[in-house]
Symmetry: none
Subunit: 134 residues, 4 copies
DNA sequence: GTGGTCTAGACCACT
DNA sequence: GTGGTCTAGACCACC
């Protein structure tokens, strides 16, 4: 198996969101490439011990966003990468996470410099790692 | 009034969380100090035009975390400063937000540089403002 | 009620898609404007005699596309209009319908001119009509 | 071979539908005439690298609609031309596709002019090609 | 076998 | 009251 998905049921982020995030990240970091097959809805549901509908919901959103393409009766595949959001929209979608981080950082007494360095190291870590380290 | 709270109903972060965050932030930046009085549950609810239950929920969490102390019949006050976190602990608390941001950013196709610049401008915007303008 | 939604259960287009289409169209033709409230998930489900999940699915997609904004505990509202797709993506999303129409038109022996005129009259009809005529 | 069928797996329209559409189109444009032979189910399945069931399903629908006739042991042939539709009937058959296109176009923010131009270019592309290149 | 849709009913978070 | 998530189980279309 080329790609190992892991979810944590105890987390506050919903399972379907965890699936989406991991697939998107894997695609963005080229761990998954165009044409690669993903586990089928039923197979992944069984593997993660969740309801097939939960997996289907995640796959549906990924398909709507053009990350994957589902082929009836054949399975799910990574689609060609293409920019679908305007730059204003991309910014708008990043903003909540940005707000969260900065608010938290200020409350904890970090400086701009501190945070920028942390962002850089995190970027390297996530873009670089090859597989399932938490 | 020493401290002016502002919430934005249109935001995706719940109102009770906004209240909590702003109080914590004001304490962290010394805009609120030990012994300062906060508006009562009913007064704040009226001022913000939200349900009193929402304010009560926020105050309950702040009290639970030792940020404020409610003195029956007298009102709500900022509690003694909490012990300072070790730097490892501060980092640990920042990690989830950091993870979130970097993951989103990579998925949306932002570069390290992009994000660092965005962090800086957001930092200025939030640290500079004197009270919670959205 | 400012806006009257109608679905047909016999149709091959899924119910949730019919809901999405009608809301998008109403927004695009200014029959629904920023800030207007939509029927609640449960209310609409009851009105259309479908499962609340079906309505929720439609609302979720509309929210993801920035057409509506859902506010926990308060309801669903029309969001500010903003372009979220790149022009290439907009074209890509129109293409299937375009293909369908042209293929059908050719098979039925229509000329380019015929179709262009039909497109124009249909455009006027849909953009102009104020309420639920099929 | 008088007629060269091409399908695109990547498309959202099912393969069996693509086969049907292409045969109907070829008949409507007189590229296929009464009595012309089509490839057998097994031959076509092998040629297109699809499941024979898929081809059989397409041929079944074409036979049901009187477009082709299968002569046991001899093969599949184009049937006598169907009675020409009245112009009202032709319009009625085009309407669903027309509705779909215009609705999508409005929702995506295209103007009448945009769509008319797109219709024209699509028309040229499809009418001009001699056989089904995606 | 595959994914897509819908129903029924549960639990939770927020107001 | 509101919407969000998840489960369980059904039916359909496509390959």
């Amino acid at each position: 198996m080329a790609f190992d998905l892991r979810i944590s049921t105890g987390s506050s982020t919903p399972i379907f969101r965890q699936i989406i995030d991991q697939v998107r990240l894997a695609v963005a970091t080229a761990r998954l490439k165009e044409g690669d097959a993903l586990a089928s809805v039923r197979a992944l549901a069984e593997q993660l011990v969740v309801n097939p509908n939960t997996v289907a919901k995640a796959y549906a959103e990924l398909a709507r966003d053009g990350v994957i393409a589902t082929h009836q009766g054949k399975g799910v595949f990574i689609a060609a990468r293409r920019p679908i959001y305007t730059s204003a929209e991309r910014l708008r979608r990043l903003e909540p996470a940005l707000d969260d981080l900065v608010r938290e950082a200020i409350a904890l007494g970090f400086s701009t410099d501190d945070v920028q360095k942390l962002v850089q190291t995190h970027f390297r870590k996530m873009a670089g790692r090859k597989d399932g380290e938490s």
